[in-house]
Symmetry: C2
Subunit: 134 residues, 2 copies
């Protein structure tokens, strides 16, 4: 079984929602106590989510490597091992690896009723390259 | 700043609730989206929580070292880096490091109204030694 430093690398995520090679290991599911699910996501270099929103927010805890978090209309924010991002509700954003390193984060994603995420358009190569122009 | 592999070691936790040397770095607080808080807890060898309960459960994600999780009346369960424990509501239990290694876990602790935990009696040295007798 291929491992990251801590958790298994898991199953590849669909290219409809993730550009490049991204993988998920589920860690905990919504249940009678948890109004969230949590998992470990590994992004290989260049891999990233498509633009998306969460109806009740999400927490990212970066546990390896480095990458970016960007909210629509704002500069991309470099994130690295040890960083925590508290993503607000209904804010269009993406996250992913840098061009040269993988990025591994735990994601804790709240539910609003039965919805966790609304997937939007891919982050274009131009948008991705733009994170290096600032 | 003293670091673990990923997060800062943080502030020492009170001996009223933690036997031995345990440390906390808060990672995310309860807010309008999160009905939980999350933090990184480091237990030095022999360190452990006192017996306690959570009114709406807790998730542990072990990110370094190894230790034990024990529910009252059951054998202690060895836990190590990469393990996830989904602790039920209102079950008396403790967690902590092994006698020879530290244990570092992320803890995601749900709130029920404004309560996350009820602290009970310390895990005695006899109870702690007993985890090695099975």
């Amino acid at each position: 079984m291929e491992m990251n430093e801590i958790f298994p690398k898991g199953q590849q995520l669909p290219n409809e929602w993730f550009s490049g090679n991204a993988f998920l290991t589920p860690l905990v599911a919504k249940d009678k106590n948890h109004e969230f699910s949590a998992g470990c996501v590994t992004f290989e270099p260049h891999a990233r989510t498509v633009w998306h929103t969460h109806p009740k927010g999400q927490v990212l805890m970066v546990i390896d490597g480095n990458g970016f978090y960007q909210e629509k209309g704002k500069p991309a924010q470099p994130i690295k091992k040890g960083d925590v991002v508290n993503i607000p509700e209904n804010v269009e954003h993406w996250h992913g690896a840098s061009a040269s390193n993988k990025m591994v984060h735990i994601a804790i994603t709240n539910y609003k009723d039965d919805v966790q995420v609304t997937w939007l358009k891919p982050v274009s190569d131009e948008e991705y390259k733009d994170v290096y122009s600032h």
